[in-house]
């Protein structure tokens, strides 16, 4: 154990500021507020991604007045590490009305870790439609990538050890907004 203590890395104000910053970047990078009919969709990856996606959507609406649809994308059935693992309950997958064909899809997850969840999400997307582009937004990038995957929007780059765990908590699901670094704890929000 390199870090026995539990450390709060981002508190509520930090989390909200970070979400606001990424929302601005989404508007800018997808040229949402330019003229033209932009079809942008946010797809949150359970368990904390959907909350983060709706936070992004709310901020984007606040800053630009544009409502972007959000959905859920469960990657469980597409994972390559299911064999030999304990059973994982399925979460729901919901694609907004209008689908994802020719859309600019932004995958949203709380923590980017090995990259395997994102690979599974890309496979899942392929079965749902053909987006024009796919981007990735994460609150925390903790490193240790096992696949050539990078995020387009990163809230905080966080160097970590493998035996540490990054837990992202949101008011909606955990009663508090914070990002916590601590010893590995499998009960908290994912290290994806």
């Amino acid at each position: 154990m390199t870090s026995a203590a539990r450390r709060v890395l981002l508190d509520s104000a930090d989390v909200n500021r970070t979400i606001a910053r990424i929302a601005h970047q989404i508007i800018e990078k997808t040229a949402l507020d330019d003229d033209g009919d932009k079809h942008v969709v946010l797809l949150g990856i359970p368990t904390r991604g959907p909350v983060l996606a709706s936070r992004f959507a709310a901020k984007v609406a606040e800053f630009s007045g544009i409502e972007i649809p959000t959905g859920f994308l469960d990657t469980t059935l597409y994972r390559d590490d299911l064999r030999g693992q304990p059973h994982r309950p399925l979460e729901r997958t919901t694609v907004p009305a209008g689908g994802i064909d020719n859309a600019h899809v932004i995958l949203v997850d709380d923590v980017l870790y090995s990259g395997r969840t994102v690979r599974a999400a890309l496979d899942a997307l392929r079965d749902l439609g053909r987006p024009a582009t796919v981007q990735l937004a994460v609150l925390v990038d903790r490193g240790h990538r096992e696949l050539p995957i990078r995020a387009d929007y990163v809230g905080k780059n966080l160097p970590t050890a493998r035996d540490e765990d990054v837990a992202v908590h949101f008011t909606e699901t955990d009663g508090v907004d914070e990002v916590v670094l601590g010893p590995r704890d499998t009960t908290a929000g994912g290290s994806a």
Binding site: Q85, Y113, T117, D127
Partner: protein
């Protein structure tokens, strides 16, 4: 879970987990052009049917194929069974040929359990390996996936199973569906009432978690759901009731009895239905009847069972093939 042999072995959490996953599959596949998930890619599922079946075999086959498993159907009439090969040798042969799951239907009670024992092996690390065995109906014993799909249908129609009153009517003695449902519905908190002539009740029914009655009309007004069973002529080797007409009059679900059940009541039938015998022609097509919903749910329930048996493992009973590092 390594096998699914009986609903009596299912904990409440396991049963609810399977129902939730089945809902998850229904939802995941809803409105998709490509109904194919990569979850069981590279896994081999064999259905071994010693009795005729349409919906169960097809349902398992569709479930396996939608999850990208390689599904191979073995039927007794077109295999070495016809040459006199024993069940044990057939099972061990299919295991040796690479089956990850054996889905077994057999006229003898306990056949699936036997196959699970015959094909179990212990590897060098002391872990129990061998194919997952799913009981798809063994004699008059159990048919667990049928009970699970019935429970899913009830949950969708009634909202919850806990505290509901389910009446199971007919040929209880020969019905593996009744036995599996009695255990599962009771585990899920329902009150189960069996209604049948005394000759069609099994010995030892007093040890089941159910109450027994003989007058269907008296039970219907207080029932939330009624499950009609097929009268299994192929297993009738004695005079269980005087005539099919008398049976139909006393235990058949006709229009009058459907009115007693009410508009909110649910009518289940595991199929195949004998219209005009245990269920009236118009009752089978009434809005309360869920026969086709049961079939649809059957595919999703079987996907959930395959998922649980083939990819999820208990720590004490791991298949010792993959030691994938937890990447989360």
């Amino acid at each position: 879970m390594r096998h699914l042999l009986s609903t009596a072995d299912l904990s409440r959490d396991d049963a609810l987990g399977i129902l939730d996953d089945a809902e998850g599959f229904a939802q995941a596949l809803l409105g998709r052009e490509i109904r194919k998930l990569p979850t069981l890619r590279g896994r081999t599922v064999m259905t071994v049917f010693y009795e005729n079946s349409t919906r169960t075999r097809v349902s398992f086959e569709v479930a396996g194929k939608w999850m990208s498993a390689d599904v191979i159907n073995v039927s007794a009439s077109s295999s070495s069974v016809g040459k006199g090969e024993s069940l044990r040798d057939t099972a061990k042969t299919l295991h040796a040929a690479g089956a990850d799951a054996l889905i077994v239907r057999h006229p003898s009670s306990g056949a699936a359990q036997q196959i699970a024992q015959w094909t179990a092996e212990t590897d060098d690390a002391g872990l129990v390996t061998g194919p997952a065995v799913i009981n798809a109906g063994d004699g008059t014993h159990e048919h667990p996936t049928q009970a699970l799909l019935d429970a899913l249908t009830l949950r969708q129609r009634l909202g919850d199973i806990e505290g509901r009153r389910v009446v199971i009517v007919g040929d209880i003695v020969h019905s593996r569906v009744a036995r599996s449902n009695a255990h599962l519905l009771s585990t899920l908190g329902a009150e189960v009432v069996l209604v049948a002539p005394p000759t069609l009740l099994p010995v030892g029914v007093d040890t089941w978690p159910v109450t027994v009655a003989h007058d269907l009309d008296a039970q219907l007004p207080s029932a939330d759901a009624v499950m009609m069973l097929r009268v299994q002529a192929e297993r009738m080797n004695g005079g269980f009731f005087p005539s099919t007409r008398e049976y139909s009059v006393r235990y058949g679900l006709n229009d009058d009895r459907l009115r007693l059940l009410g508009d909110d009541g649910v009518v289940l039938h595991p199929g195949p239905m004998l219209r005009g015998m245990e269920i009236g022609y118009s009752v089978a097509d009434a809005p309360q009847a869920t026969v086709l919903e049961q079939v649809r749910n059957g595919v999703h329930v079987r996907m959930a069972v395959l998922l649980r048996l083939l990819v999820g493992t208990d720590s004490d009973q791991q298949r010792g093939d993959d030691k994938v590092e937890a990447a989360q």
